[in-house]
């Protein structure tokens, strides 16, 4: 090993920072979009309408059985074709992430709602509350409480997954690190640095999850 060259990292910092900002932006927008679409999917699956829940279930199972990279490829191809004009790599990737994450979020929400004991609904009924009131005041608050740690974990996974936009050369933190690595010929420094940065961010996230879990548990 021929000496670890920190100066490469230092001089690339502004470029890497831009990449990291893109990673964060993509993560945040994908969480918002994914949660929104995920709620719709979860509602559709748990609705009484057979056809609607079947469509939603098919979508969720379909997305969950293919790799994210393939989903990214799909939407890179489909989005411009459907819209009839190119929208740029960022929006194609964002749409791919939203569509992908929504499938996972909807499952988390469904599991959260199912996790509320049946006795709670019966207790609600026995005190004379109607369906919507039981959902609003009894089921959803408890379900949401149970869901929070899982949702944050999924957000950490999503942040890690954004590194996959590398396959379409969108300049996120991973791609930026890789560009510097190759142009400067400093593969060891750049990939280890990328690993450390991702680790620090994601580990901080995991610690938050653990704190949330112990709060939910009490």
């Amino acid at each position: 090993m021929s000496g670890f060259d920190f100066s490469v990292i230092v001089s690339a910092l502004p470029f890497l920072w831009e990449g990291l900002q893109l990673s964060f932006l993509l993560t945040i927008l994908a969480i918002i979009g994914g949660l929104g679409f995920g709620v719709l999917l979860a509602l559709a699956r748990m609705s009484g309408f057979r056809l609607l829940s079947l469509v939603a279930a098919t979508y969720v199972n379909l997305i969950r059985s293919v790799p994210l990279i393939l989903v990214i490829f799909w939407f890179y191809f489909l989005v411009p074709l459907v819209l009839g004009r190119p929208v740029g790599g960022f929006y194609s990737a964002l749409i791919a992430f939203v569509m992908f994450e929504a499938a996972y979020y909807s499952e988390i929400m469904r599991a959260g709602i199912k996790s509320v004991a049946k006795g709670q609904v019966q207790a609600g009924k026995s005190t004379g509350l109607g369906y919507w009131r039981i959902q609003r005041h009894i089921v959803l608050p408890q379900a949401f409480r149970n869901m929070i740690p899982v949702l944050v974990t999924q957000a950490i996974i999503l942040f890690q997954d954004t590194s996959l936009v590398f396959v379409v050369s969108l300049r996120d933190f991973m791609t930026a690190s890789s560009i510097v690595a190759r142009t400067e010929g400093r593969l060891v420094e750049m990939y280890l640095f990328a690993a450390v940065v991702y680790f620090v961010i994601c580990f901080a996230g995991s610690l938050t999850v653990r704190r949330l879990q112990s709060k939910v548990a009490t």
């Binding site: 790799p67 990279i69 490829f73 191809f77 997954d161 060891v188 990939y191 990328a194 690993a195």
Partner: protein, 239 residues
């Protein structure tokens, strides 16, 4: 929408061959990585539950390290950085003489990454067994190792079949990352067919259908495992 459909392209030479070879790589990388993940994950998971601060600390560190760095970054570290960091002789061997470098590297990276997730499931499985049962096994005269071997592990592995199924499926999906270091697995081949023929829709559909097929086969097999290993008298399954 302006698109020239041509489903026949999927069955033409050489594209059909590409898909088949892609499937072959996807399956072989995934199965090998799963063996690595299962063996190491089981050891690390058990290690986290033992009554030894050093061992459980090291195992926890492993899980945190491998779980909190994106798989793609890990793959690049294994492929590009590690050969430069090891002693010259070994590095030279890794770069020049290691058989099937892309395949081997993916198996190691994907295997060790997945091991951290398997370890979490194994630990959770062992932790979910009531404390009293462990006490009873000890009171029955079993040694620490015997308690794990005959009681804790057989029960926890039965409990965690469903989450392990989902990890196993994830391995197949994650094997697609190998395309970034040049392994022409299924996703890479479909992308390549799309590039050569402009029939992206057909190419991606083919890959999608094959992945779904893999998921169905794996889920089916694991359901057989689940029924076979179900404990009679528990959770309504079995005799």
């Amino acid at each position: 929408m302006n698109y020239n459909w041509n489903w026949a392209v999927l069955f033409q030479d050489p594209y059909l061959g590409w898909l088949i070879s892609g499937l072959g790589w996807t399956v072989s990388v995934s199965l090998c990585a799963w063996v690595v993940a299962f063996v190491i994950g089981a050891l690390i998971g058990v290690g986290r539950t033992v009554n030894n601060r050093l061992i459980s600390g090291l195992c926890t560190a492993y899980v945190e390290l491998f779980r909190n760095v994106p798989l793609l970054v890990q793959l690049f570290v294994w492929y590009f950085a590690i050969p430069e960091m090891v002693p010259d002789g070994v590095g030279h061997w890794m770069k020049r003489e290691m058989p099937m470098p892309e395949f081997t590297t993916t198996v190691i990276a994907l295997g060790l990454y997945t091991a951290s997730r398997v370890a979490e499931q194994v630990r959770a499985g062992i932790d979910s067994i009531p404390k009293g049962l462990k006490a009873a096994a000890k009171a029955n005269g079993l040694s620490g190792t015997q308690v794990y071997r005959y009681i804790l592990l057989p029960i926890s592995f039965r409990i965690i079949v469903p989450p392990l199924t989902s990890e196993f499926l994830t391995v197949f999906k994650n094997s697609s990352l190998a395309l970034t270091i040049g392994l022409l697995e299924l996703t890479a081949q479909s992308q390549q067919i799309a590039d050569y023929t402009y029939n992206s829709f057909e190419a991606f559909t083919a890959a999608t259908v094959i992945y779904i097929f893999i998921a169905l086969v794996v889920t089916g097999l694991m359901q057989i495992v689940e029924t076979r290993t179900a404990i009679p008298g528990q959770s309504g399954k079995g005799a």
